[in-house]
């Protein structure tokens, strides 16, 4: 996986992607790859690098959609881990998630090209419908339903269904969730203090709040750990399936420095 360390030629521009699938498909297509596990593992780092830009910008659109990107990143990290740690065994649920992501990408790819065709044809040749018209003079034909009271309650219902301004997830929350650098640094610190550290212990001590947050935290911690493995700073061992992962500092790693994930 040496090509991942050098600066990626497949740079992604911030703000151009509507959703995680569009981003993923674009990363895969830039490399002229098919949609499968191998290509997904290959684009994981660029995907994460893109997500990281969310915490640097305060774009409202990003923040509203960040959770969708994070959800997909969890599956991507599974795929990536599988490719880095061949012994890693996955649960049925996890395998299904991977297959599901592949399917979604395939569906999205088909829709994407169909959508381009639609865009090319939309409005170029229109079958117009006739002008709105009534054929004879209107005859006033009221309905007993038209009373002040009914009209009043109708309008209240209309108002109840008015579009609300999009609710924003507070920016601080998002930053808290996706700050990968911070987690890497914290992991590095802990390795300096103890030669052995259990992954479960690590994620627990990092203090996550609710369950959802904890899940995301585990994902990101795991990702951070894989990054450190890649950098040759730590070794990981999983003694049994579903067992805890043991983290060891590599003897050769002389200096531990904060890592920049985005090369």
């Amino acid at each position: 996986m040496s090509e991942e360390v050098i600066s990626s030629p497949y740079s992604v521009r911030t703000g151009t992607f509507e959703g995680p699938l569009e981003l993923l498909l674009s990363l895969i297509e830039q490399r002229k790859l098919f949609v499968n596990e191998v290509s997904l593992a290959e684009v994981t780092n660029d995907y994460i690098a893109y997500i990281k830009t969310f915490s640097d910008t305060s774009s409202e659109k990003h923040i509203a959609d960040v959770s969708y990107f994070i959800l997909i990143s969890a599956t991507l990290i599974l795929i990536k881990s599988k490719s880095l740690l061949p012994n890693l065994s996955l649960t049925d649920d996890e395998t299904e998630k991977i297959t599901d992501l592949e399917t979604r990408l395939k569906l999205y790819k088909i829709i994407k090209s169909a959508s381009m065709e639609i865009g090319n044809n939309f409005g170029t040749k229109i079958i117009f419908m006739p002008n709105e018209r009534i054929w004879s003079e209107p005859i006033f034909s009221p309905d007993p339903l038209i009373t002040s009271q009914n009209i009043g309650s109708s309008i209240m219902e209309v108002i109840a269904h008015l579009p609300k301004k999009a609710e924003k997830i507070p920016e601080v929350e998002v930053k808290k969730i996706i700050n990968i650098d911070e987690i890497i640094n914290s992991l590095t610190d802990r390795i300096q203090n103890a030669m052995n550290l259990s992954f479960k212990e690590f994620t627990r001590s990092s203090g996550a709040g609710n369950q959802e947050e904890a899940k995301v935290h585990v994902i990101i911690s795991f990702l951070a750990m894989l990054e450190l493995v890649r950098e040759g700073i730590i070794d990981v061992m999983q003694n049994s399936s579903f067992g805890d992962i043991e983290i060891n500092k590599q003897q050769e790693a002389l200096e531990i420095r904060p890592l920049e994930l985005q090369n």
Partner: protein, 188 residues
């Protein structure tokens, strides 16, 4: 394949739904008035026995429905104006009533109604027009824009002499206006 002149005239008249002068047809279709005359003759022939007829009035023509269908059309029309108003129709009427500005006697546009309701309202507006519950006027500020407002008869049917007698008038107007302001922001 280029379609024939009579087919072009037919399509154009169908779209317009109102009298169009022969001069205007010639201008729009970029042919001479004589050619239009010939086209109209062919159109008349091809319409024979069909559901539509070409009606000539002096120097104008209009596409109409054959008189043989009059009883049918009359019964459809009757059904249109007597059936109970749907909830969606009542909601639309309510928006037009509350958005109507008595002081400036302006109205509300279709796109504003659509935005407030969250769905397209064209068929509903047609039904309200047919029933004489609302009328269509041209926006004084923009002649291309049509506005809708309640008819005088609707107000008197409801027993109100001015719009602000509607329940929660001021409050409702403020809320509707806020929603429309949001729309403008979102479109930026």
């Amino acid at each position: 394949m280029e379609i024939s002149l009579e087919s072009k005239i037919e399509g154009l008249l169908f779209y317009k739904g109102e009298d169009v002068s022969i001069k205007k047809l010639a201008e729009l279709l970029k042919v001479s008035e004589l050619e239009i005359e010939e086209g109209l003759k062919k159109l008349e022939t091809s319409l024979a026995g069909r559901g539509l007829v070409l009606v000539r009035k002096n120097d104008s023509v209009v596409l109409g429905i054959t008189s043989e269908l009059s009883p049918l059309i009359e019964s459809i029309r009757k059904e249109e104006v007597t059936k109970e108003l749907s909830k969606a129709t009542l909601d639309t009427l309510a928006i037009i009533l509350y958005k109507n500005d008595t002081s400036t006697s302006s109205g509300v546009s279709r796109s504003e109604i659509d935005y407030i309701r969250g769905v397209n309202s064209s068929f509903i507006l047609r039904n309200l027009l047919v029933r004489g519950l609302i009328e269509k006027i041209t926006d004084a500020k923009d002649s291309r824009r049509a506005l809708y407002r309640p008819t005088f008869e609707t107000l008197s049917f409801m027993g109100i002499t001015s719009i602000d007698q509607l329940p929660n008038y001021t409050q409702v107007r403020t809320q509707l206006q806020e929603a429309l302001n949001n729309q403008t922001e979102n479109n930026d």
